[in-house]
């Protein structure tokens, strides 16, 4: 699981072009949206692309993403469950 989280962080940094961040800057439980990394609805769509391309998981309705994309923890848990 922790390996998955580290991989995820690197993928997030690349997919979202977070050029100033490193894997160490993202805490597992830190909120990704709003006050956390300051991500927005466009990033949520990029997360959907990331999950499909890297993990074969399809999220057809962007509103489902809200819960899943809360943090690296929640993302990893969702991937584990659905892969």
């Amino acid at each position: 699981m922790s390996e998955l989280k580290e991989t995820l962080k690197a993928q997030i940094i690349e997919q979202l072009n977070l050029e100033d961040l490193t894997v160490a800057d993202i805490a597992d439980d830190a909120p990704l949206f709003g006050e956390g990394l300051g991500l927005d609805s466009i990033d949520a769509l990029e997360f959907i692309v990331l999950l499909e391309q890297n993990y074969g998981i399809k999220i057809a309705d962007p509103s489902e993403g809200k819960e899943i994309f809360q943090s690296v923890d929640s993302l990893a848990a969702y991937i584990e469950k659905n892969q």
Partner: protein
């Protein structure tokens, strides 16, 4: 006679032109391998926004923020010209749609590909709710944006942001000369200005702009334009042209494309040059001739009062 006074200028170009008092001081003719001289964008744009911005957006937004930093009030209108817009994101999304087989496509390049992303990012970056227009008309994109900005002033606006920005991508060379002329090396650039009905520090401003979309006799158009403004050719101190135009030995002439390189927002850089020329040499009149594309003529008269 209306004057549209220039209060501040911010240019990002292949010259050392950003935050310099006189752009002529370090001006050099560009070679084939010149590069954009970028300011530190991070000082202007927060990282969450910057990570998504392609070159033309970085340049346009940063030049606009710099203009805002140099004046006292929020812009009451924003008029942006761009001929080819966000080419990098456009190409990126073209590659995505032609190579991705998945049901899910990365949306960021598409979102950033529309021409009005420049103006939109300026309004977002400055939290500005005012009039916001994007004009695109090949080599005359800046002139039409300027005409709009001048109308805004006529309508009572006091602090109008006007500028133009274009970026090069490597692929653009493939589309020469059909999409853009090949007389000069391809470059990128953004020049933004704040114009106002009130005098600024320099009392230099735009006096008149003329466009012709079926220009068959540019000499005659120039004569008519000048006589409409009660000016004779000998009154002009400097001609900044996109070709080798000159009337007589009474004035200096320069081809601004030698300094900006080839992009359709170069006439905006020429206005920066004209301003700094009149200021540093204490002269009165400059004429910008934009004849980058056959049949499409733009004339801009710049005056120091």
């Amino acid at each position: 006679m209306n004057m549209y006074f220039i209060h501040t200028i911010a240019s990002i170009s292949h010259q050392d032109s950003f935050q310099v008092p006189n752009v002529f001081e370090q001006l050099e003719k560009l070679g084939d391998d010149s590069d954009i001289v970028s300011p530190n964008y991070k000082e202007y744009v927060p990282p969450t926004a910057l990570r998504r911005l392609g070159p033309v957006l970085r340049m346009g937004l940063t030049a606009s923020i710099e203009c805002r930093n140099n004046v006292d009030a929020d812009f009451d209108a924003i008029s942006v010209g761009t001929a080819l817009g966000c080419l990098k994101d456009t190409e990126k999304f073209l590659v995505t749609i032609h190579t991705t087989t998945s049901d899910f496509l990365s949306p960021t390049a598409f979102i950033q590909s529309t021409h009005n992303t420049i103006g939109g990012q300026i309004s977002l970056g400055l939290k500005n709710h005012a009039y916001n227009m994007t004009h695109t008309q090949n080599n005359l994109s800046f002139e039409v944006a300027l005409i709009d900005a001048m109308m805004c002033v006529n309508e009572g606006k006091q602090n109008v942001l006007v500028g133009a920005a274009d970026e090069k991508i490597d692929f653009l060379a493939q589309a020469q000369p059909d999409l853009i002329p090949d007389t000069h090396p391809l470059t990128s650039g953004a020049s933004f200005f704040v114009i106002s009905p009130k005098k600024g520090k320099t009392s230099i401003g735009v006096r008149d702009v003329y466009t012709n979309f079926n220009a068959t006799n540019s000499d005659k158009d120039i004569q008519n334009f000048l006589s409409k403004n009660d000016i004779s050719t000998d009154d002009i101190n400097v001609i900044l042209s996109s070709s080798e135009q000159s009337f007589s030995d009474k004035q200096e002439t320069l081809n601004y494309l030698d300094y900006s390189g080839m992009h359709y927002s170069a006439p905006a850089f020429a206005l920066h040059l004209a301003h700094d020329y009149l200021l540093s040499k204490d002269k009165q009149l400059a004429l910008i001739i934009n004849d980058m594309c056959p049949g499409r003529l733009g004339l801009t008269l710049v005056q120091k009062q």
